[in-house]
Symmetry: C2
DNA sequence: TTAAACTTTCAAAACTTTTTGAAAGTTTAA
DNA sequence: TTAAACTTTCAAAAAGTTTTGAAAGTTTAA
Protein backbone atom coordinates (compact mmCIF):
# COMPACT_ATOMS: atom_id res chain seq x y z
CA UNK A 1 0.00 0.00 0.00
CA UNK A 2 1.15 3.51 -0.82
CA UNK A 3 1.74 5.99 1.98
CA UNK A 4 -0.88 8.33 0.52
CA UNK A 5 -3.45 5.55 0.43
CA UNK A 6 -2.54 4.44 3.94
CA UNK A 7 -3.02 7.96 5.24
CA UNK A 8 -6.46 8.11 3.64
CA UNK A 9 -7.38 4.80 5.16
CA UNK A 10 -6.25 5.83 8.62
CA UNK A 11 -8.23 9.09 8.49
CA UNK A 12 -11.29 7.18 7.36
CA UNK A 13 -11.01 4.48 10.04
CA UNK A 14 -10.35 6.96 12.81
CA UNK A 15 -13.42 8.91 11.71
CA UNK A 16 -15.57 5.80 11.67
CA UNK A 17 -14.41 4.70 15.10
CA UNK A 18 -15.10 8.17 16.45
CA UNK A 19 -18.63 8.23 15.13
CA UNK A 20 -19.35 4.79 16.58
CA UNK A 21 -18.27 6.10 19.97
CA UNK A 22 -20.34 9.26 19.82
CA UNK A 23 -17.65 11.62 18.51
CA UNK A 24 -18.29 13.77 15.44
CA UNK A 25 -16.76 11.99 12.46
CA UNK A 26 -15.16 15.10 10.99
CA UNK A 27 -13.62 16.03 14.31
CA UNK A 28 -12.02 12.60 14.51
CA UNK A 29 -10.77 12.94 10.94
CA UNK A 30 -9.19 16.31 11.57
CA UNK A 31 -7.53 14.78 14.61
CA UNK A 32 -6.28 11.83 12.56
CA UNK A 33 -4.88 14.15 9.92
CA UNK A 34 -2.95 16.18 12.49
CA UNK A 35 -1.77 13.00 14.22
CA UNK A 36 0.09 11.87 11.14
CA UNK A 37 1.38 15.30 10.08
CA UNK A 38 4.97 16.03 11.02
CA UNK A 39 4.28 19.75 10.64
CA UNK A 40 1.52 21.92 12.08
CA UNK A 41 -1.18 22.65 9.47
CA UNK A 42 -3.28 25.68 8.60
CA UNK A 43 -7.06 25.73 8.43
CA UNK A 44 -6.67 26.08 4.68
CA UNK A 45 -4.62 22.89 4.37
CA UNK A 46 -7.04 20.95 6.51
CA UNK A 47 -10.00 22.18 4.46
CA UNK A 48 -8.32 21.08 1.27
CA UNK A 49 -7.12 17.70 2.45
CA UNK A 50 -10.45 16.69 3.96
CA UNK A 51 -12.69 18.55 1.53
CA UNK A 52 -14.61 20.42 4.15
CA UNK A 53 -15.80 24.01 4.44
CA UNK A 54 -14.06 26.74 6.36
CA UNK A 55 -16.82 26.89 8.97
CA UNK A 56 -16.71 23.18 9.54
CA UNK A 57 -12.93 23.13 9.84
CA UNK A 58 -12.94 26.05 12.25
CA UNK A 59 -15.64 24.57 14.47
CA UNK A 60 -13.99 21.17 14.74
CA UNK A 61 -10.57 22.66 15.37
CA UNK A 62 -12.02 24.64 18.23
CA UNK A 63 -13.72 21.54 19.61
CA UNK A 64 -10.47 19.59 19.42
CA UNK A 65 -8.75 22.35 21.36
CA UNK A 66 -11.58 22.10 23.90
CA UNK A 67 -10.89 18.39 24.23
CA UNK A 68 -7.23 19.17 24.83
CA UNK A 69 -6.19 17.09 21.83
CA UNK A 70 -4.63 19.77 19.62
CA UNK A 71 -3.01 23.17 20.05
CA UNK A 72 -2.57 26.36 18.12
CA UNK A 73 0.89 27.31 17.04
CA UNK A 74 2.11 30.69 15.90
CA UNK A 75 4.94 30.84 13.43
CA UNK A 76 7.22 33.84 13.68
CA UNK A 77 6.41 36.48 11.08
CA UNK A 78 3.23 34.69 9.96
CA UNK A 79 -0.35 35.82 10.32
CA UNK A 80 -1.91 32.40 9.90
CA UNK A 81 -2.63 30.05 12.77
CA UNK A 82 -1.17 26.58 12.64
CA UNK A 83 -2.55 23.55 14.43
CA UNK A 84 -0.76 20.48 15.69
CA UNK A 85 -1.78 17.40 17.65
CA UNK A 86 -0.21 15.93 20.74
CA UNK A 87 1.29 12.73 19.33
CA UNK A 88 1.58 10.82 22.61
CA UNK A 89 -1.14 8.15 22.52
CA UNK A 90 -1.14 7.76 26.28
CA UNK A 91 -1.88 11.48 26.66
CA UNK A 92 -4.60 11.19 24.04
CA UNK A 93 -6.26 8.28 25.84
CA UNK A 94 -6.05 10.10 29.15
CA UNK A 95 -7.39 13.30 27.71
CA UNK A 96 -10.38 11.57 26.12
CA UNK A 97 -11.08 9.60 29.30
CA UNK A 98 -10.83 12.78 31.35
CA UNK A 99 -13.23 14.76 29.19
CA UNK A 100 -15.81 12.02 28.86
CA UNK A 101 -15.72 11.43 32.57
CA UNK A 102 -16.33 15.10 33.21
CA UNK A 103 -19.01 15.50 30.54
CA UNK A 104 -20.87 12.20 30.83
CA UNK A 105 -19.94 10.01 33.76
CA UNK A 106 -20.03 12.74 36.43
CA UNK A 107 -23.63 13.83 35.68
CA UNK A 108 -24.79 10.21 35.74
CA UNK A 109 -23.08 9.61 39.09
CA UNK A 110 -24.90 12.63 40.43
CA UNK A 111 -28.28 11.30 39.28
CA UNK A 112 -27.52 7.84 40.63
CA UNK A 113 -26.65 9.25 44.03
CA UNK A 114 -29.94 11.12 44.09
CA UNK A 115 -31.85 8.05 43.01
CA UNK A 116 -30.23 5.86 45.68
CA UNK A 117 -31.84 8.09 48.26
CA UNK A 118 -35.39 7.27 47.16
CA UNK A 119 -37.17 5.45 49.97
CA UNK A 120 -40.15 3.13 49.76
CA UNK A 121 -41.96 0.06 50.94
CA UNK A 122 -39.40 -2.74 51.12
CA UNK A 123 -42.26 -5.23 50.62
CA UNK A 124 -43.05 -3.72 47.22
CA UNK A 125 -41.27 -5.66 44.44
CA UNK A 126 -41.32 -2.55 42.25
CA UNK A 127 -39.39 -0.65 44.86
CA UNK A 128 -37.05 -3.51 45.70
CA UNK A 129 -36.05 -4.10 42.08
CA UNK A 130 -35.56 -0.41 41.40
CA UNK A 131 -33.53 0.01 44.52
CA UNK A 132 -31.28 -2.96 43.87
CA UNK A 133 -30.57 -2.00 40.27
CA UNK A 134 -29.72 1.57 41.17
CA UNK A 135 -27.46 0.47 44.01
CA UNK A 136 -25.62 -2.03 41.83
CA UNK A 137 -25.15 0.35 38.92
CA UNK A 138 -24.03 3.03 41.34
CA UNK A 139 -21.38 0.69 42.74
CA UNK A 140 -20.10 -0.21 39.30
CA UNK A 141 -20.05 3.42 38.19
CA UNK A 142 -18.11 4.41 41.28
CA UNK A 143 -15.56 1.69 40.65
CA UNK A 144 -15.13 2.84 37.08
CA UNK A 145 -14.78 6.39 38.33
CA UNK A 146 -12.10 5.42 40.82
CA UNK A 147 -10.19 3.41 38.24
CA UNK A 148 -10.29 6.31 35.77
CA UNK A 149 -9.05 8.61 38.47
CA UNK A 150 -6.02 6.41 39.06
CA UNK A 151 -5.43 6.06 35.35
CA UNK A 152 -5.55 9.80 34.82
CA UNK A 153 -2.87 10.35 37.40
CA UNK A 154 -0.74 7.47 36.26
CA UNK A 155 2.32 7.32 34.11
CA UNK A 156 1.89 5.05 31.14
CA UNK A 157 4.65 2.62 32.04
CA UNK A 158 3.40 2.28 35.59
CA UNK A 159 -0.16 1.79 34.46
CA UNK A 160 0.45 -0.95 31.93
CA UNK A 161 3.09 -2.50 34.14
CA UNK A 162 0.59 -2.81 36.94
CA UNK A 163 -2.10 -4.24 34.70
CA UNK A 164 0.42 -6.69 33.36
CA UNK A 165 1.14 -7.97 36.83
CA UNK A 166 -2.53 -8.74 37.31
CA UNK A 167 -3.41 -10.03 33.91
CA UNK A 168 -0.51 -12.40 33.55
CA UNK B 1 -38.71 11.89 45.34
CA UNK B 2 -41.53 9.53 44.44
CA UNK B 3 -40.72 6.08 43.10
CA UNK B 4 -42.61 6.83 39.88
CA UNK B 5 -40.62 10.03 39.36
CA UNK B 6 -37.36 8.28 40.18
CA UNK B 7 -38.10 5.59 37.59
CA UNK B 8 -38.73 8.24 34.96
CA UNK B 9 -35.51 9.97 35.85
CA UNK B 10 -33.49 6.78 35.65
CA UNK B 11 -34.93 5.86 32.24
CA UNK B 12 -34.16 9.35 30.99
CA UNK B 13 -30.59 9.39 32.30
CA UNK B 14 -29.80 5.93 31.02
CA UNK B 15 -31.10 6.96 27.61
CA UNK B 16 -29.02 10.11 27.60
CA UNK B 17 -25.86 8.26 28.62
CA UNK B 18 -26.49 5.70 25.91
CA UNK B 19 -26.86 8.31 23.19
CA UNK B 20 -23.66 10.06 24.30
CA UNK B 21 -21.83 6.77 23.91
CA UNK B 22 -23.24 5.96 20.50
CA UNK B 23 -26.12 3.75 21.58
CA UNK B 24 -29.63 4.46 20.35
CA UNK B 25 -31.44 6.41 23.04
CA UNK B 26 -34.65 4.41 22.84
CA UNK B 27 -32.77 1.14 23.06
CA UNK B 28 -31.10 2.33 26.25
CA UNK B 29 -34.46 3.44 27.63
CA UNK B 30 -36.10 0.11 26.92
CA UNK B 31 -33.17 -1.51 28.66
CA UNK B 32 -33.51 0.83 31.65
CA UNK B 33 -37.21 0.08 31.91
CA UNK B 34 -36.63 -3.68 31.95
CA UNK B 35 -33.76 -3.29 34.41
CA UNK B 36 -36.07 -1.84 37.04
CA UNK B 37 -39.05 -4.09 36.33
CA UNK B 38 -39.45 -7.02 38.71
CA UNK B 39 -41.62 -8.79 36.13
CA UNK B 40 -41.02 -9.46 32.46
CA UNK B 41 -42.97 -7.02 30.27
CA UNK B 42 -44.85 -7.33 26.98
CA UNK B 43 -44.19 -5.22 23.90
CA UNK B 44 -47.53 -3.55 24.60
CA UNK B 45 -46.52 -2.48 28.10
CA UNK B 46 -43.19 -1.13 26.87
CA UNK B 47 -44.88 0.83 24.08
CA UNK B 48 -47.25 2.39 26.58
CA UNK B 49 -44.72 3.23 29.25
CA UNK B 50 -42.21 4.81 26.87
CA UNK B 51 -44.73 6.21 24.38
CA UNK B 52 -43.17 4.59 21.36
CA UNK B 53 -44.64 2.81 18.35
CA UNK B 54 -44.92 -0.93 17.93
CA UNK B 55 -42.28 -1.01 15.21
CA UNK B 56 -39.84 0.95 17.27
CA UNK B 57 -40.38 -1.22 20.33
CA UNK B 58 -39.99 -4.39 18.33
CA UNK B 59 -36.81 -3.26 16.61
CA UNK B 60 -35.11 -2.14 19.81
CA UNK B 61 -36.14 -5.28 21.68
CA UNK B 62 -34.57 -7.34 18.94
CA UNK B 63 -31.41 -5.26 19.09
CA UNK B 64 -31.21 -5.65 22.85
CA UNK B 65 -31.51 -9.41 22.42
CA UNK B 66 -28.69 -9.15 19.86
CA UNK B 67 -26.56 -7.36 22.44
CA UNK B 68 -27.28 -10.17 24.89
CA UNK B 69 -28.83 -7.74 27.37
CA UNK B 70 -32.40 -9.03 27.48
CA UNK B 71 -34.24 -12.29 26.83
CA UNK B 72 -37.63 -13.46 25.71
CA UNK B 73 -39.77 -15.30 28.19
CA UNK B 74 -42.78 -17.45 27.49
CA UNK B 75 -45.48 -17.69 30.08
CA UNK B 76 -47.39 -20.97 30.22
CA UNK B 77 -50.74 -20.73 28.50
CA UNK B 78 -49.99 -17.27 27.05
CA UNK B 79 -49.53 -16.25 23.45
CA UNK B 80 -47.69 -13.01 24.16
CA UNK B 81 -43.95 -12.76 24.45
CA UNK B 82 -42.50 -11.28 27.58
CA UNK B 83 -39.10 -9.64 27.88
CA UNK B 84 -36.81 -9.36 30.84
CA UNK B 85 -33.34 -7.96 31.42
CA UNK B 86 -30.36 -9.60 33.05
CA UNK B 87 -30.11 -7.60 36.27
CA UNK B 88 -26.46 -8.39 37.05
CA UNK B 89 -24.53 -5.20 36.34
CA UNK B 90 -21.26 -7.05 35.95
CA UNK B 91 -22.79 -9.20 33.23
CA UNK B 92 -24.19 -6.09 31.56
CA UNK B 93 -20.81 -4.37 31.56
CA UNK B 94 -19.12 -7.47 30.19
CA UNK B 95 -21.75 -7.97 27.53
CA UNK B 96 -21.49 -4.38 26.32
CA UNK B 97 -17.68 -4.53 26.34
CA UNK B 98 -17.77 -7.81 24.45
CA UNK B 99 -20.09 -6.55 21.73
CA UNK B 100 -18.34 -3.26 21.22
CA UNK B 101 -15.01 -5.00 21.01
CA UNK B 102 -16.36 -7.33 18.37
CA UNK B 103 -18.17 -4.65 16.39
CA UNK B 104 -15.76 -1.73 16.66
CA UNK B 105 -12.38 -2.50 18.18
CA UNK B 106 -11.67 -5.65 16.18
CA UNK B 107 -12.12 -3.98 12.76
CA UNK B 108 -9.87 -1.10 13.82
CA UNK B 109 -7.19 -3.50 15.01
CA UNK B 110 -7.33 -5.17 11.63
CA UNK B 111 -6.84 -1.88 9.79
CA UNK B 112 -4.02 -0.84 12.13
CA UNK B 113 -2.20 -4.10 11.52
CA UNK B 114 -2.47 -3.54 7.80
CA UNK B 115 -1.28 0.03 8.12
CA UNK B 116 1.72 -0.94 10.25
CA UNK B 117 2.96 -2.93 7.28
CA UNK B 118 3.26 0.11 5.03
CA UNK B 119 6.90 0.63 4.16
CA UNK B 120 8.61 3.79 3.06
CA UNK B 121 11.60 6.05 3.11
CA UNK B 122 12.73 6.36 6.72
CA UNK B 123 14.28 9.73 5.86
CA UNK B 124 10.86 11.11 4.91
CA UNK B 125 9.28 12.94 7.87
CA UNK B 126 5.84 12.24 6.43
CA UNK B 127 6.51 8.55 6.54
CA UNK B 128 8.24 8.60 9.92
CA UNK B 129 5.40 10.47 11.62
CA UNK B 130 2.75 8.25 10.06
CA UNK B 131 4.62 5.15 11.00
CA UNK B 132 5.23 6.18 14.59
CA UNK B 133 1.62 7.22 15.19
CA UNK B 134 0.25 4.00 13.75
CA UNK B 135 2.68 1.87 15.75
CA UNK B 136 1.85 3.68 18.99
CA UNK B 137 -1.89 3.55 18.50
CA UNK B 138 -1.59 -0.09 17.55
CA UNK B 139 0.24 -0.85 20.78
CA UNK B 140 -2.35 0.97 22.88
CA UNK B 141 -5.22 -0.74 21.07
CA UNK B 142 -3.65 -4.14 21.60
CA UNK B 143 -3.22 -3.44 25.30
CA UNK B 144 -6.86 -2.42 25.57
CA UNK B 145 -7.82 -5.55 23.68
CA UNK B 146 -5.83 -7.77 26.01
CA UNK B 147 -7.25 -6.09 29.09
CA UNK B 148 -10.81 -6.49 27.79
CA UNK B 149 -10.10 -10.11 27.10
CA UNK B 150 -9.09 -10.69 30.69
CA UNK B 151 -12.03 -8.72 31.95
CA UNK B 152 -14.46 -10.74 29.85
CA UNK B 153 -13.22 -13.97 31.32
CA UNK B 154 -13.04 -12.67 34.86
CA UNK B 155 -15.38 -12.99 37.77
CA UNK B 156 -16.48 -9.68 39.16
CA UNK B 157 -15.01 -10.12 42.61
CA UNK B 158 -11.69 -11.24 41.20
CA UNK B 159 -11.57 -8.36 38.75
CA UNK B 160 -12.28 -5.55 41.18
CA UNK B 161 -10.23 -7.22 43.87
CA UNK B 162 -7.23 -7.25 41.56
CA UNK B 163 -7.70 -3.67 40.52
CA UNK B 164 -8.04 -2.74 44.14
CA UNK B 165 -4.66 -4.25 44.92
CA UNK B 166 -3.06 -2.00 42.32
CA UNK B 167 -4.99 1.15 42.87
CA UNK B 168 -4.70 1.24 46.65
C1' DT C 1 -6.18 55.47 10.70
C1' DT C 2 -6.94 51.85 6.69
C1' DA C 3 -7.30 47.70 4.36
C1' DA C 4 -5.68 43.20 3.81
C1' DA C 5 -5.39 38.82 6.01
C1' DC C 6 -7.22 36.11 8.65
C1' DT C 7 -10.90 33.85 12.15
C1' DT C 8 -15.50 33.20 13.85
C1' DT C 9 -20.46 32.95 13.61
C1' DC C 10 -24.88 31.22 12.43
C1' DA C 11 -29.13 30.47 9.61
C1' DA C 12 -30.26 27.56 6.13
C1' DA C 13 -29.35 23.25 3.58
C1' DA C 14 -27.76 18.63 3.40
C1' DC C 15 -27.30 14.54 5.41
C1' DT C 16 -28.04 10.80 8.88
C1' DT C 17 -30.61 8.39 12.13
C1' DT C 18 -34.68 7.17 14.29
C1' DT C 19 -39.53 6.50 14.44
C1' DT C 20 -43.98 5.51 12.73
C1' DG C 21 -47.80 2.65 11.40
C1' DA C 22 -49.97 -0.03 8.17
C1' DA C 23 -49.32 -4.23 5.72
C1' DA C 24 -47.37 -8.72 5.56
C1' DG C 25 -46.01 -12.66 8.00
C1' DT C 26 -46.35 -16.23 11.63
C1' DT C 27 -48.23 -19.07 15.18
C1' DT C 28 -51.77 -21.29 17.69
C1' DA C 29 -56.30 -22.94 19.23
C1' DA C 30 -60.29 -24.81 17.90
C1' DT D 1 -58.68 -25.68 7.63
C1' DT D 2 -59.76 -20.73 9.66
C1' DA D 3 -59.28 -16.66 12.07
C1' DA D 4 -57.68 -14.40 15.96
C1' DA D 5 -53.60 -13.05 18.34
C1' DC D 6 -49.56 -11.83 17.95
C1' DT D 7 -44.71 -10.38 15.71
C1' DT D 8 -41.96 -8.50 12.02
C1' DT D 9 -40.93 -5.59 8.14
C1' DC D 10 -40.09 -1.52 5.67
C1' DA D 11 -41.03 2.79 3.06
C1' DA D 12 -42.03 7.18 4.22
C1' DA D 13 -41.96 10.91 7.69
C1' DA D 14 -39.99 13.11 11.53
C1' DA D 15 -36.31 14.32 14.29
C1' DG D 16 -31.65 15.11 15.08
C1' DT D 17 -26.98 16.26 13.59
C1' DT D 18 -23.56 18.12 10.70
C1' DT D 19 -22.03 21.11 7.07
C1' DT D 20 -21.94 25.04 4.26
C1' DG D 21 -20.68 29.65 2.95
C1' DA D 22 -21.40 34.29 3.16
C1' DA D 23 -21.27 37.96 6.37
C1' DA D 24 -19.48 39.84 10.52
C1' DG D 25 -15.70 40.28 13.47
C1' DT D 26 -10.74 40.68 14.68
C1' DT D 27 -5.91 41.48 14.22
C1' DT D 28 -1.88 43.36 12.21
C1' DA D 29 1.30 45.96 9.23
C1' DA D 30 2.10 50.04 7.26
Amino acid sequence: MELAEAKQKFIESWGKLGSEWGINRTMAQVHALLLISPEALTTEEIMETLNISRGNANMNLRDLIGWGLIEKQHKAGERKEYFFADKDTWNIARQVAKERRKRELDPVLKVLDELSKVTGDSKDPEFRTFSKSITDINKLAKNVDKTLDTMLKAEESWFWGSLFKIFK
